[in-house]
């Protein structure tokens, strides 16, 4: 199985690795997740533009990296005006934009949404193949793969329950990055407990009866208030917080899968040890 996977990765790499001479020189990322991978794997001179969320500290850890780079909002017109030779995006994007760009003959690389560390590693390799690898990028990918395999699951049963819950009710089930990370850190997840995959709204009473041992509540967004911010103050949620340990994992670490996502894993592993 592993061998088959490695060989397919090798073949894929062989087929799509570009020669140094015709590596794309004008790379544009139009998605907040691909921004991060592009920033890691591509020399700054070859990055023409990143998405407008690249500078938003709530969604991206890139911080000052994007200073001085023009930011785009992912519309076909502005992307074309940047004269890119490679457009990198994720399938969250607005579909008509991507099909217009493809029809006009632009090279568009769509990196799938990472739902596990394995996906992150695959995305890194896909992007590296498209932009051309060098010694540093090879080392980066190797380090990431090593770090991921070293992390092992502690498996004493029963596992404590971890829930990441937006106060508005949104939570992620199985087959999602947050749940995969929590499972790796040795937690039972809400997806395991309630048996569902993907995002779902869970109301407060459901949250109260499953009684998680550890909870993560996301960003309270007090600087840009919404119903989410208000929901944090629900007396039932406040009561639950008196009985449950609360941790905070910045959204930017695991909203998108990147090597930085390892930090989310470390936070959860530490919390698991301290329980």
């Amino acid at each position: 199985m592993l061998a088959a996977y490695c060989s397919s990765l090798f073949l894929l790499g062989f087929a799509t690795t570009v020669l140094a001479s015709d590596r794309p020189q004008r790379i544009v990322s139009i998605n907040v997740c691909t921004d991060q991978l592009v920033a890691l794997l591509v020399e700054r001179e070859r990055i023409i533009s990143l998405s407008h969320l690249a500078r938003d500290p709530n969604s991206s850890w890139l911080g000052p990296f994007s200073d001085g780079l023009p930011l785009n909002h992912g519309t076909a017109e502005e992307v074309i005006a940047l004269r890119p030779d490679l457009i990198v995006t994720a399938p969250f994007g607005f579909r008509p934009t991507i099909s217009i760009l493809k029809n006009l003959g632009y090279t568009v690389l769509e990196l799938p949404i990472a739902k596990s560390f394995h996906d992150i590693s695959e995305n890194l390799q896909l992007l590296a193949n498209a932009v051309g690898e060098n010694k540093e990028t090879k080392a980066l990918i190797r380090h990431f793969n090593e770090a991921v395999t070293v992390e092992t699951v502690s498996s004493d049963l029963p596992l404590p329950l971890f829930v990441s819950y937006e106060a508005s009710g949104w939570t992620m089930g199985n087959n999602s990055l947050p749940n995969n990370i929590a499972q790796r850190a040795g937690f039972e997840t809400i997806g395991d407990r309630l048996g569902f995959s993907g995002g779902r709204k869970i109301d407060l009473e459901k949250l109260l009866i499953i009684e998680p041992e550890l909870i993560e509540l996301g960003n309270p967004w007090n600087d840009a208030p919404a119903l989410v911010s208000e929901a944090m103050w629900h007396p039932a949620l406040q009561e639950l917080l008196k009985r449950t340990k609360l941790i905070n994992i910045p959204d930017s670490l695991w909203l998108c899968g990147s090597p930085k996502t390892l930090e989310a894993l470390r936070i959860l592993q530490r919390a698991r040890r301290d329980l």
């Binding site: 407060l204 919404a226 119903l227």
Partner: protein, 333 residues
């Protein structure tokens, strides 16, 4: 049918039904439904969590189901009587959407974090402006004029609501458009009850005070004036009563359409056309309808929770069309 003889028993039945639905509402939810579900929940969790779920999650929901339903039913019946238009309803004429716009501005600018009262007050302000506008533009016009003015105002307010939410830097704000346009009372807390119910009750008193004059008004404006009805007084009562009660509902539950439309039509065959009798019956029936819709929302298991406005629209939409069809027939006749 002798409406007089059945009126008080009807009110008693409606009250009993509302009470029954209120208790049922306390017994329905994702943590455990019905007697056996509640029993299992009680055995499974700590008694403190159990009482927390009932007290802080289900009780506010049941109270709001009752008060919001009553407000919408009452406001619908009053507006239909006052505007003498069978299609008048807070949702249809844009009063609810305007209230939502006021509430959205209060929340997303952060005003309601600093001053919680700003939330109901801004919503009431929004609905006040719109109902005043509607009354001025279309109050004496035809059925169609009123509905057209309502459509224009609702779409304008809906668009402005979406605009405010899109302008927010919070990515969840755009997801919350659904809440404001379709309405929900999921996971509202007792503080929402305290924030809105006093206003709703003030609104009910104002609307109830208009009932007698509305009876006389149904004979026509000139007759009413000659019988000593003070037109500007009833105008004040109806406009402020509707604005305050509908504004307070919408501030905490979003726009819930059609309740105010359906309920008076369901009640009229039972109690007759006299507004003073229609109003109490519509308030109670509105409470029953909304409690019922909110129980259905929780019982239908589609993985994620249905919005309240979806259920009321599923019932109300076809009803509205039927009503238009009947109006067309009676116009031809």
């Amino acid at each position: 049918m002798d409406n007089n003889k059945y009126y008080l028993p009807l009110l008693a039945v409606l009250t009993l039904l509302a009470l029954l639905l209120f208790i049922t509402s306390l017994m329905v939810g994702s943590a455990g439904t019905g007697f056996s579900g509640m029993r299992a929940m009680f055995d499974q969790v700590d008694p403190e969590i159990f009482s927390l779920i009932i007290r802080e999650i289900r009780l506010p929901r049941a109270i709001l189901g009752f008060t919001i339903g009553a407000s919408l039913g009452l406001a619908g019946a009053t507006l239909q009587g006052y505007l003498r238009n069978p299609l008048a309803e807070p949702g249809v004429i844009g009063v609810s959407t305007a209230a939502a716009l006021g509430a959205v501005i209060a929340i997303y600018t952060g005003l309601s974090l600093v001053m919680p009262l700003a939330l109901p007050l801004m919503a009431i302000g929004g609905s006040f402006i719109v109902i005043f506008l509607i009354q001025t533009i279309a109050g004496t016009g035809s059925v169609a004029t009123l509905i057209l003015a309502g459509v224009a105002i609702s779409s304008l307010c809906g668009a402005l609501t979406s605009l405010v939410l899109n302008l927010s830097e919070n990515p969840f704000a755009s997801l919350e458009i659904v809440f404001w346009l379709l309405g929900s009372i999921t996971d509202r807390s007792m503080s929402h009850v305290w924030l809105s119910t006093p206003f709703m009750i003030i609104g009910w008193f104002l609307l109830a005070a208009s009932a007698r004059s509305l009876d006389v008004l149904s004979l026509g404006e000139e007759t009413a004036v000659s019988l000593g009805v003070n037109l500007s007084r009833i105008r004040f009562l109806v406009i402020s009563g509707t604005a305050i009660s509908v504004g307070a509902c919408t501030a905490i539950a979003g726009v819930i359409g059609f309740v105010g439309l359906i309920v008076p039509h369901l009640m009229r065959p039972l109690v007759g056309h006299q507004p003073s009798r229609l109003l109490p019956a519509s308030a109670l029936a509105g409470a029953c309808l909304l409690l019922c819709a909110d129980i259905m929302v929780r019982l239908v298991n589609i993985g994620t929770e249905l919005k309240l406005g979806v259920v009321t629209a599923l019932i109300g939409g076809p009803f509205f069309l039927l009503l238009i069809l009947r109006l067309k027939v009676s116009h031809r006749a």
